[in-house]
Amino acid sequence: MICAKLSISSLDCKASLQGLLPVLAKKKGDPDSDQPLYRFLGRLGGSAGNVLPELLDAVPSSALEELLLGVVAAYEGPLVRQINSALAAHEISKSFSAERLLMERDTTTGNYHLMLGGININYGTLLDNEIVMKKAESLIDGIFDRYSDSTAGQLFSLVARKALQKTANVGKIANWLIHNPMDRRCVQLLEMETVKKPLLQQAERALHQTGVCVTLEDAVFSFDQAAQPETHLPENRCIFDSAWLSLESKRAVVDAFVTYIEKHLKEAQ
């Protein structure tokens, strides 16, 4: 498995929350939940779609940022499933499916990034793609060169190169090579600009389809050694009861809600 750190060049927090919140309310809202916020959202039903976007207009941008990170954490499971299904609709990316998602902000640079972890790759599907295949070929060439300093290696290289001339066999050999050093070899493949660029575009499109309005700048792939870190909130925890939101941001959200109530009460009178 590999993980991808996707650097974000621009992030529209408000638009992202507007995209995510109604879906979150629908997915997390449970009229019978014992968790007050999820029960409230569940009881609001379809009205959540009217309330939440208006509420966001009154929340200051600093709180919106924290809220988005918290929502992504609270919404990790459904969000990852949606991203995977969006990835599945595109070439190259259809061979990927992630297990974890975390949005973070680098405290020194202030830049955001998305961590997609536990990415499983269907190599068969990946190597069906023409761009990937061409790159795999050059990668294989590079590997064969390593064997050229011994007689056996030269012989192996010669046989392999002959075999590669038959396009039908390239996939099999590339598949074998990639599977042997496993995901580490794949990371090299993905880091190649011609593979990475379309992959980034597809990941960005997948995120947009999910509701997260980001522009992705770069991706760094690495072998995923993390043993399932707990990035998400447990199902019954609410972002209001978590460390994702600072007290200031919680107050800002509450302010916005009270403003919303007061405004609509005035209108009703």
Binding site: R39, R43, G45, S47
Partner: protein, 230 residues
């Protein structure tokens, strides 16, 4: 010691909530919780009372009664002080002391208020003009006899007197007024003074918010937002 059981005829819950709200607010403001409901209640200023009344009126009778039992328990120290001050302003009241007040829902869903640990200073009581007038010709006799009686005998005489119908309406009227001064607006249906031999642990310690009410309040709030605002 006595316990006064006050069966409530009509309970003006909205007015009671309004008069006790400043005390409840103080308790909420003192909370250090960062939970959504607490932050919301702290932030709501003038809006809160009308909104809360609207929400509370969406609860069913049982839920509303349970909430008021909790609110009375929450404010019992202040209510106790207010009742004691009101009693001290009358001659007869100066002779009465009590240790606690609690509101209970009975099995039929009605509300009953209990004043526990009532102690009477009979010497002080018999100095009261109202009591002397009420006793009429017997006042002198009672005053003479009182020092000769045991506490138990004195208590029994008081119990019999209170139960006499000719004193009931005056006591009920006074009771309504006293409770109103303490912020509890209701009409007493009847009252019963009994010997108080029990401990009342629910008169002490921090009252516990009824767990079942949490979900009911969330539901009522969502209903309010859905029907009034969204």
């Amino acid at each position: 010691m006595f316990s006064l059981k006050i069966r409530i005829g009509q309970f003006d819950s909205d007015s009671t909530f309004q008069s006790l709200w400043p005390q409840v607010r103080q308790k909420i403001d003192a909370l250090e919780s960062e939970s959504l409901p607490v932050l919301l209640l702290k932030r709501m200023q003038d809006t809160s009372l009308s909104v809360l009344l609207n929400i509370l009126n969406r609860l069913n009778d049982g839920q509303r009664n349970a909430l008021y039992c909790y609110i009375i328990a929450l404010c019992r120290t202040n209510i106790h002080s207010a009742l004691t001050s009101s009693l001290a302003r009358t001659e007869a009241g100066q002779s009465i002391a009590f240790s606690g007040l609690r509101l209970h829902t009975d099995t039929l869903g009605g509300l009953t208020l209990f004043a526990d640990g009532i102690e009477i200073d009979y010497d002080q009581l018999l100095k009261s003009r109202q009591v002397v007038e009420a006793l009429g010709g017997k006042a002198f006799l009672v005053k003479m006899a009182m020092p000769l009686l045991s506490q138990n005998q004195r208590d029994r005489i008081l119990l019999n007197a209170v139960r006499q119908s000719k004193y009931q309406s005056a006591i009920l009227e006074k009771g309504n007024q006293l409770l109103k001064n303490a912020g509890i607006i209701l009409t007493i249906a009847d009252l019963d003074l009994t010997e108080d031999t029990e401990n009342h642990p629910d008169n002490a310690g921090k009252p516990v918010f009824p767990a079942a009410l949490k979900n009911a309040l969330v539901d009522a709030f969502a209903d309010f937002v859905r029907t009034e605002l969204a």
